[in-house]
Symmetry: C2
DNA sequence: TGAACATATGAACAATTGTTCATATGTCTT
DNA sequence: AAGACATATGAACAATTGTTCATATGTTCA
């Protein structure tokens, strides 16, 4: 590992001081890890159109109920979506405004230039 | 897989029509996958304070030069950061405003409630 | 040119992850 | 209460990923 140049020392200290806590960074990485899968992104993109039941999501994605349900549970554990029961069906929706914003900005980054 | 209720049919069609292309969703998932690692999040958090050389990043993270360099190359391939050489040193910085925004919103989501 | 420095890269290994299949849970209707 | 329906969950397998170690590339200065 390279030596630390004296003129870098205070940048290092300053940056360390301004960084969010290790706990926050760890949890943030966990959240993005959940965004980092095509099936889950497709689910989130569908839900950004509005609340939806599981069978609709399966139909839109063209995937098995089991695969979708597993991913819904991952999304819910990470608090990216929330659920509501109506009779036999479960309706899912984005958890809060952050989720739509993150998704949107990510898509913009991909779509631009 | 459950049957499609008639009242759901048009929601399904509508949502399918409004979804970004498969290619965009795939690429978006790839971008978030890159955000989904603690080491890379720490690097991005450091770079959000400003441009920085590799040895500073190693020092801030307390990690080996090799591990950091590998992750920098992942971040760069995904166009989350860009680099600039100055003599023997490489300086890295966030690629564009989207990256800081995504990171920031993710951290906010974690820090709130 | 050669030595020293800063960073990059290839191979390899352990650990994590997404899907499928089978089955369980919870809800409604008769 | 039983059967049908909608969704959830456990086990298992293939595939992907992050780090380490060793070494290569590129740059400066004597």
């Amino acid at each position: 590992m390279a030596d630390i140049h004296p003129e870098h020392a205070h940048i290092i200290e300053q940056t360390k001081a301004n960084m969010p806590s290790e706990e926050v960074l760890e949890k943030t990485a966990e959240v993005f890890k959940v965004f980092g899968d095509k099936t889950r992104i497709r689910i989130l993109a569908a839900l950004s159109e509005g609340e939806m039941c599981v069978c609709c999501i399966c139909e839109i994605l063209g995937m098995s109920q089991s695969a979708v349900s597993h991913q819904l549970s991952v999304l819910k554990s990470a608090r990216l979506i929330k659920s509501r029961r109506e009779g036999k069906q479960m309706y899912y929706s984005l958890d809060d405004a952050h989720i739509g914003a993150i998704l949107c900005t990510g898509i913009s980054h991909v779509e631009e230039d």
